[in-house]
């Protein structure tokens, strides 16, 4: 081949590479947002992650919004969960996102630069804080600015799944709940089955990643401590309250209620474990019940949630903010986008319709009581134990990287302590240091 031909080839390859590479180029975010006149035809793009009931619930509300606003057309685009995270992470800095973005509240502040703040005529911060429970609205509040509204209360700690068939067979009555951790542990021990010194059915599974980390941070709160400094810029994890929390969890292992080598995130994850009846009780949020009901209807029928005892006066717990809606700062029709978000999230009737369609707990305080609460419990009996707890939820905080803290820092160290491979001193010191490194 001639040198000239090679040059042509090289030029072609270089042009192709440059062309592809330039697609990474980003427009300056937030410089093209705008609003449109009241009757001007508008097409709003709405991005959500794929979840059958979530998507259908939103589409149903969208149909109502389109009927009330004939000039608006909603275009829903869905992504599987992993793709959605990556799409948001790349599209927002590039300014190519949709007008309305479904957001998990805890993520919101990391995208705040590219999101539109809630206009004052939609809701002020104080109004939103009184309308929504603290934990869900916390995720949408960044430096005292509101960037969206939650649709659900995402809760993982406060009550435990109880298999009533197994409890009845063991002669354990959990209907009155437990006043103390000693009472709880006695029942959990009675619900534990062992054979040849091997736990074949654990009494209480709390050693999956989410369960263990939510337990740890919630028990710190209940003990009167805090893990995040007031300014939200540093962690204090090596504290007496943290030691008390670890000691309680360690005592359950020592009592033989659970073997963390056999029951953890990799082997016997709590959802599988509970519905396959290898766990009598298990710590996981109420979202798991509809997820498994179709495949394990008999276990689902025998399932109820019972509130856990507390270490302090009140059942304080740590919670992430739930799924909700935000508006892109680049949207050419932010006013219409906010109208839609307001219609879905702030209207109590519409918000309750979405919670009913999706089997999620309400984020609006007004839907957590009265007739709406009764209707939700009638539709989802396993919600009953959760409603009294919602007011005690504390938002986990706008962490630099929540997943990193949860799954790479807190969980491995806590599991290490329970498995006996790490001392409490080393684990707490390492957690504090590694967690503070995430602020770098």
């Amino acid at each position: 081949m001639t040198r000239r031909f090679r040059r042509w080839q090289a030029l072609g390859v270089a042009l192709l590479m440059l062309g592809s590479a330039c697609t990474f180029g980003a427009d300056e975010p937030g410089d093209s947002g705008g609003s449109v006149a009241a009757d001007e035809p508008v097409t709003l793009r709405v991005w959500t992650h794929q979840n059958k009931s979530f998507n259908q619930g939103l589409k149903d509300l969208g149909a109502g919004f389109e009927a009330a606003n004939p000039n608006v057309t909603l275009k829903f685009e869905t992504f599987d969960y992993d793709s959605y995270i990556q799409t948001l992470q790349t599209a927002l800095p590039a300014g190519t996102e949709a007008d309305v973005l479904q957001m998990f509240g805890t993520w919101t502040c990391s995208y705040a630069d590219n999101l539109a703040p809630v206009p004052a005529d939609v809701s002020g911060l104080a109004d939103a804080q009184s309308a929504f429970f603290e934990a869900p609205i916390g995720g949408y509040t960044c430096d005292d600015t509101l960037y969206g509204f939650p649709q659900e209360f995402n809760i993982e700690y406060g009550a435990t799944l109880v298999n009533t068939d197994i409890a009845d067979a063991a002669g354990v009555d959990t209907s009155a709940g437990w006043a103390t951790w000693d009472e709880f542990m006695a029942d959990a021990k009675a619900l534990t089955e062992t054979q040849d010194d091997v736990i074949t059915r654990t009494g209480y599974h709390f050693t999956s990643a989410d369960a263990l980390v939510y337990s740890f941070f919630s028990l710190i709160l209940q003990g009167g401590g805090q893990f995040l400094a007031d300014d939200g810029a540093s962690f204090t994890i090596d504290t007496p309250e943290a030691r008390e929390a670890v000691a309680l969890m360690q005592s359950m292992v020592d009592e033989g209620i659970i073997d963390p080598e056999l029951f953890n995130d990799t082997a016997n994850w709590v959802g599988d474990c509970y519905f396959e009846e290898a766990c009598s009780m298990g710590l996981i949020g109420p979202w798991v019940v509809p997820e498994y009901s179709a495949d394990f209807p008999e276990v689902a029928d025998a399932t109820k949630y019972v509130a856990l005892p507390t270490l302090g006066e009140t059942p304080d717990f740590v919670a992430d903010s739930g799924w909700g809606l935000t508006v892109s700062a680049n949207s050419p029709a932010t006013n219409v986008a906010w109208d839609f978000v307001e219609f879905v999230t702030l209207d109590p009737e519409n918000a309750a319709a979405w919670n009913t369609a999706t089997g999620t707990l309400p984020a609006l305080r007004s839907n957590g009581e009265g007739a709406t609460q009764e209707q939700l419990i009638a539709d989802y009996p396993h919600f009953e134990a959760w409603f009294p707890l919602l007011q005690y939820g504390q938002y986990v905080g706008n962490l630099p990287d929540r997943d990193l803290l949860w799954y790479e820092i807190a969980y491995p160290h806590l599991l290490g302590v329970l498995q006996g491979t790490e001392s409490v001193d080393d684990a707490l010191a390492a957690m504090e240091s590694e967690a503070n490194d995430t602020f770098r």
């Binding site: 001639t2 590479m17 953890n264 491995p412 498995q419």
Partner: protein
């Protein structure tokens, strides 16, 4: 004798005209799709990874309009590589995880490669010695796992090794008459000769799936050795072992080189088994470099750091492959 240079009339090169031009057009048309594909999906990502390794890049942050580099994704030069040499206890988490991942990957590769060869070479020789249809049957049976999805293999082995419902513990329980629940892949205390059992479990699954590939390569190489060479050895009184040791094995040297280099490269790249069987656990005992890169890049969006680690992985594979080639190179052919 005087020499004279005869000046040839210079042929005018015609790029698009004439027979030569037609050939060039044909070559261009045929090669362009493949070159474009390679440029976009191979050269560009590799080049992009090398560029990113010098930036503190995260797609979460807003960079400059030029490729998203700069501004909040600043140029950091060799900083990522320098941090890799921080062996102190206070080194950042990602650095310590990189050290662990490097150790796990090297351990995995240097166990898997010799084990693979030690198993496949004699097995190939045995399969090759079988006559008739049985040879085809054996070849098929041993090659079948290669065709299986790696994720499927990981799930099945996960089931075999499950502490409570696993086949292995079930067999041990039957044999001992006692309920046995060994947490093969989740107990950090289980170690064999300094190698975590969770890693051993992945090695077993990997070998189960991979040996068929090298087996076919060795069978093909064995078939290529002329019978006359072996016959000559036998005439000279060599036993079967001596024939294998002094005739077959040396003649297989180029194939052993090929198999060991390919296995080494593939061992450094294994991802699915690590992610599905253990997800790096217990206690990071099976956190391989590929998993570390994936977690850093796509879970925690530390693209710059992940790119630097992938550059290290590339250099590692490159260097080891070169060293292997030097050691196992044969200077003759038959």
């Amino acid at each position: 004798m005087a020499s004279a240079t005869i000046e040839q009339p210079r042929r005018k090169r015609r790029w698009f005209g004439g027979r030569e031009g037609a050939q060039r057009r044909f070559v261009s048309i045929v090669l362009s799709p493949a070159l474009a594909y390679m440029a976009v999906f191979l050269v560009l990502p590799i080049g992009w990874a090398f560029v990113l390794a010098f930036f503190d890049f995260s797609p979460r942050r807003t960079g400059s309009p030029f490729l998203g580099l700069g501004l909040d994704n600043p140029f950091v030069g060799l900083e990522h590589f320098a941090r890799m040499f921080d062996f102190s206890k206070t080194a950042p988490l990602e650095v310590r995880q990189f050290h662990t991942a490097l150790k796990v990957t090297l351990l995995f590769a240097f166990i898997v490669v010799p084990l693979n060869l030690v198993i496949t070479l004699p097995l190939a020789s045995m399969v090759e010695s079988v006559r008739g249809r049985w040879k085809v049957l054996y070849r098929t049976v041993f090659f079948l796992p290669v065709l299986t999805s790696a994720v499927g293999v990981a799930i099945i082995w996960g089931f075999v090794l499950h502490p409570q419902r696993g086949l292995l513990n079930g067999l041990i329980s039957r044999a001992t008459g006692k309920v046995t629940a060994i947490a093969w892949t989740t107990d950090p205390d289980l170690v064999f000769l300094g190698v975590p059992i969770a890693l051993v479990a992945i090695i077993v699954a990997y070998l189960w799936q991979d040996i068929g590939y090298n087996l076919v390569i060795f069978i093909a190489a064995l078939q290529a050795i002329p019978d006359s060479v072996k016959d000559a050895a036998r005439v000279d009184g060599a036993s079967a072992w001596q024939t294998f040791r002094y005739i077959t094995l040396p003649l297989l040297k180029p194939t052993i080189l090929l198999a060991s280099v390919l296995t080494m490269i593939s061992a450094f790249q294994v991802f699915d088994l690590f992610q599905v069987m253990t997800n790096g656990g217990p206690d990071d005992q099976t956190r391989a470099l590929s998993l570390d890169i994936y977690e850093s890049a796509f879970r925690y969006q530390r693209m710059g750091w992940a790119a630097a680690v992938s550059v290290v992985l590339f250099l590692l594979v490159f260097t080891i492959s070169i060293v292997q080639s030097r050691f196992l190179r044969a200077n003759w052919e038959y």
